[in-house]
């Protein structure tokens, strides 16, 4: 199971902040981040990459986006 972060409906900078916290605190090698807008999707992906994680999946799920990042 991937660590889950639900940042839907949250404004900048919270999706990135929650993702960074998860990267620091999780023992798992995969994190799933849910966001509800394109700007947050870009920001979260960029932030993950800056921490040396890679974006393995980034899909539209209904009205939201699901981003999978891996160490």
């Amino acid at each position: 199971m991937a660590h889950k972060v639900d940042a839907r409906g949250l404004a900048c900078p919270q999706p990135v902040l929650l993702t960074m916290e998860a990267i620091k605190s999780t023992s798992q090698s995969e994190i799933e981040v849910l966001v509800d807008n394109e700007a947050s999707r870009e920001n979260v992906s960029r932030a993950a990459q800056s921490q040396g994680w890679s974006v393995t999946q980034s899909d539209e799920v209904g009205e939201d986006f699901r981003i999978l990042i891996k160490k």
């Binding site: 900078p13 990135v16 902040l17 960074m20 807008n37 980034s58």
Partner: protein
């Protein structure tokens, strides 16, 4: 899969900053006030005057740039399927933050955009304003680190998302119906709109140029997520330089264009629509920066998010317009002569209210 957004790349944000850096000094060249090619706070203040919310005769003009920002962002959001009506994340708090953002920015005499443009025009006082802005945003990041949040927003109806864009469209119709008149000697009314005949409110680029620039910048800023407050915030919070690269591009290009157009006059004294009270330039922008940070965007970004259907950002915009009315009706706004009669009180109250909002919205993990 991921549709590629070229404006979200480093090159994209730098290009957008550079384009704004060309357009803003050009707007001054074509008639906008000096070192005020674009100032979201000043222009919303002028709009508040144009619709009669305040009667400061020197700052009344329905600025087409602001309408263009929202409508340009709306067009971009619709084309790229990013128009998402949302709202419900503490709108009343955002309204209050908008009021404080405006009253504080008018103590410095400009929003972050104008602070950059003032610096690019040689106004040294802007350094104090930008330092204050950074300090205010830094305080904001401390709240975010402690779990500050105004809560989630939720999907809203198409009509709700379109409210602010439609208000802007309505204002544009009024501007077309009631244009400025020739040969007036004092501030006057054309139809329902108020117009200045002297002061910054009487200095404006032609409607077509101002509107086109506003639409273009609104479009590009929506695509690139350009945000002046975010540039400072992301640097402090995450050591991310992405948005800052856009801001620095704006500063550098505006500086070059100002020099080329003979609009660069270095110094502290006698700068256009500015005062030299170092402390208040710093303090005003500190409070404004904190309000922007707590609300999640600089005044420009709030307009662009409104164009994307974010009605919480729309409420912040309305708060700023009301704040401008209060600032001029109550003597809170500065002028080149110095601080407004009640400006200091406004700054102190604004700071206390921002801190109160910050502490009251800390979420326990």
């Amino acid at each position: 899969m991921t549709r590629k957004n070229i404006f979200a790349t480093l090159g994209g944000i730098v290009a957008v900053g550079a384009i704004i850096g060309v357009l803003a000094p050009l707007l001054q060249y074509y008639g906008n006030p000096a070192n005020m090619g674009i100032c979201v706070a000043c222009f919303e203040r002028d709009i508040a005057g144009a619709i009669g919310l305040h009667t400061a005769g020197v700052v009344q003009y329905l600025r087409p740039e602001i309408l263009g920002f929202v409508l340009g962002a709306l067009v971009a959001a619709l084309i790229f399927r990013e128009f998402k009506p949302s709202g419900g994340s503490a709108p009343m708090t955002r309204f209050v933050l908008g009021i404080i953002a405006m009253t504080s920015a008018l103590i410095f005499l400009g929003c972050p955009w104008r602070a950059i443009l003032r610096l690019a025009g040689g106004d040294g006082n802007a350094i104090l304003g930008l330092a204050g802005l950074a300090a205010g945003v830094w305080i904001g990041t401390l709240f975010f680190r402690k779990g500050y949040s105004l809560g989630r927003s939720y999907k809203q109806s198409m009509a709700t998302g379109l409210m602010l864009p439609l208000i802007m469209l309505g204002l544009l119709v009024l501007r077309l119906m009631f244009p400025p008149l020739e040969g007036m000697e004092a501030a006057y009314k054309s139809g329902v709109l108020f117009y200045s005949v002297q002061g910054p409110g009487a200095a404006y680029a032609p409607l077509g140029i101002a509107l086109a620039a506003g639409l273009g910048i609104g479009f590009l800023a929506q695509r690139s997520r350009f945000c002046t407050m975010g540039a400072i915030r992301d640097l402090i919070l995450f050591r991310h330089l992405h948005l800052m690269a856009g801001l620095l591009a704006l500063l550098a290009v505006a500086l070059v264009v100002n020099i080329a157009l003979g609009q660069f006059n270095p110094g502290f004294e006698g700068q256009p629509v500015a005062h030299t009270l170092y402390f208040w330039n710093f303090a005003g922008m500190l409070v404004a920066g904190l309000a922007f940070a707590l609300a999640g965007g600089c005044p420009g970004r709030q307009l662009f998010m409104s164009g994307e259907g974010n009605s919480d950002a729309g409420v912040f915009v309305i708060g700023m317009i009301i704040g401008a009315a209060l600032a001029h009706n109550w003597g809170l706004a500065s002028s080149p002569a110095g601080l407004g009669a009640n400006g200091a009180a406004a700054a102190v109250i604004g700071l206390l209210v921002c801190l109160g909002i910050g502490f009251a919205n800390l979420k326990k993990a």
